[in-house]
């Protein structure tokens, strides 16, 4: 089992994607909570912003982050030829 440069590139692209998505996760969770008092002054459709993020907004983003990661990685597997059989 010898890793080629292509393999290494696959892994570093995976790391970069992971870091970016983790950054999004961090912002919609911890940054929003940290500034919740200030952000609650913004009211959209009856919802104070930080309250809305905690109740629904961040959750929607979590679902999208995971969806995007799965899609992107599954494509990247094909691109780098490290995908599993036909299924």
């Amino acid at each position: 089992m010898q890793l080629t440069d292509k393999h290494r590139e696959y892994w570093s692209r995976n790391l970069r994607l992971t870091a970016i998505l983790l950054g999004i996760w961090f912002v919609v969770t911890f940054v929003v909570i940290y500034f919740a008092r200030e952000l609650n002054d913004i009211v959209i459709m009856g919802f104070p912003f930080a309250f809305y993020m905690g109740a629904q907004g961040s959750l929607i983003i979590y679902v999208l982050v995971i969806w995007f990661y799965a899609r992107r990685m599954n494509k990247m597997d094909m691109e780098y030829g490290v995908h599993e059989g036909e299924d």
Partner: protein, 730 residues
Amino acid sequence: MATAASSNAAFFNQLKKYYSFYTGGFIAFVIILAILEQMGVTPKVLGYIFLAATIALYAGIGIMSKTADVSEYYVAGRRVPALFNGMATGADWMSAASFIGMAGTLYLTGYDGLAFVMGWTGGYVLVALFLAPYLRKFGQFTIPDFLGARYGGHLPRTLGVLAAIICSFTYVIAQIYGVGIITSRFTGLEFKVGVYVGLAGILVCSFLGGMRAVTWTQVAQYIILIVAYMIPVVWLSVNITGNPIPQIAYGQALQSVTAKEKELNDPATALGAAEASVRAIHKEKAKEMGDKLKAMEEAEKAGNGAAFYAEQKAKAEQKVADLKAAPEPDAKAIAAAEKAVAEFPADLGLLKAAWKKAESGAKGKAGPVAAHATAFSGKGAEKKVMKEAADKGETPSAEAIAKAKAEDEKASNDKRNNFLALVLCLMVGTASLPHILMRYYTTPSVRDARKSVFWSLFFIFLLYFTAPALAVLAKYVVYHDLVGSSFASLPAWVSNWSAVDATLMKIVDMNKDGLIQLAEITIGGDLIVLATPEIAGLPYVISGLVAAGGLAAALSTADGLLLTIANALSHDVYYKMIDPNASTVRRLTVSKALLLVVAILAAYVASLKPGDILFLVGAAFSLAASAFFPALVLGVFWKRANYLGAVIGMLTGLIVCMYYMYMTYEFFGINAPLWFEIKPISAGIFGMPAGFLGVILGSMISPAPSKEIQELVDHVRYPSLEGDINTNAA
């Protein structure tokens, strides 16, 4: 592989067909029961039918899925499609606490309760990015398996087993407790009997078919629980807002709730003035309780604790005698006084706890209502200073105001820090609980494991983003329909529930004005979900459905947890360490026997009603986060991590976390000062960094892992490599 793919597709289509039929059948069943109700069948009988029918259904699936194959037993044959594994994970994940308790917590605490909503969903991002695909590629049976293979030697595996058992067992007790509560409430059986009936329900699912049976019953349980959760909320939303999508519609309700909160807090309005009069009564009560507590402490200091206790008990008994001797005995008051004697706390410590609870309850009600969406409200010290001065007709000094402001800000910041810490612990704990991670061993491929995390969170999300809407809608009903209406015409759901259980609903006309004030209502969190069908004016059959949903949530989680514990013992301890040559039959027999023993032990502990279930659940997350997360994640992402690092990391994580809980949680009686004002439930915030530091330092001071182990890391990082080793266990 082509044949495997097409057989997987065929299997998927077959499953879709089965579960569509099943869902249709279940809806038909509910409709038949609704017709029976109209024909005059009593609620109690409906309750029994729901309980018996759903448990029989789970048993049926359990028996149909029985297996003698090791891979089927431990990982459902690794052919669970992503979508169905997502549903099973959803049911596995959502416990009685999520189903029944979540909306209530949000009702009671507003924004501050959202820590649970965020924590219990955001953790799946970590599962997706750091663990699921890599564990699937590794492809064995348990989480300790991975630790054992990655770090070598028996010690990392043993620590993994130990940590898995500690957190799963604390968690499973809470689940079985929930099962007992639901069964006893809806059938009238005694709590202890309810626990064992529920246990039978849990065992029929997992005993014969292991993971395979648990997976397919969990899918069935997910469908029941999500239907049961949605129907009443959608109906309530239509009633209140005219919009059938509660998650969108409740913004409108929230605005009117916020307006009402302002009105109730303003003594210039009629409603606000009535509230103020009740708050004054609560304030007096709080003071009275505070004085009594002071007297108790003084008696204790003087060594007269026992005498003080006897005196108080005698006082309670004297009250009964006085009431009976009155010229016109008041039957209601006598009954209440007699109940107080019968339930008088058994010793001084308990009496103190009861008084403290009464004091803090009264204190809470003596102040203004906190606005639902406000984040981290302070102590209200500034308002208090202003008000006291205004009462005396003075202006407070700038110094006093500044001091009060600083106090408020500190209280608010402490709340924020605790919120942040709790969210992090719940998230990392989610990504470390073995019963969840184990589920990603069951998909056909790495590809499916990634998709499956998406489906898992999607199905969990459906319930979690509905709970905040339900909480606001329920608050709307209480503020608009209940507050200000007359005691003579209480809505049916209020009188029903206050008769059933005073801890869930208590309503007393304290200022004797014949009208209901908010401060006169005491609501227990669990009421919100349980009473929603009645609040929305739905027939009893929907209440039965909600109970069945709660039962499904508790049973499915308990199943997954028990299986995790039994597998850790049978696979990791017995097969991998004691007798590696054991035959298949023997391995499964040992596993099933252990499952039975663990289940009975857990039911026994639950039937003792151990205190504070919520703390137990939170503790499980902190412990899992501290013990597992660093070693698991660094095991994949840092090749240099080695045996010594894992051992030191897991041990320090676990020890720091347990030490902090032991020192600060009041149950243990030490009550050491808090670190950075962080509450013991978030002990993981100290355990996690300690764990990471332990793994890193331990690895740096000892030699790099062998070439084989580094190859194993490469193996899990790539879904497929040429000339790859095969670690799949069969």
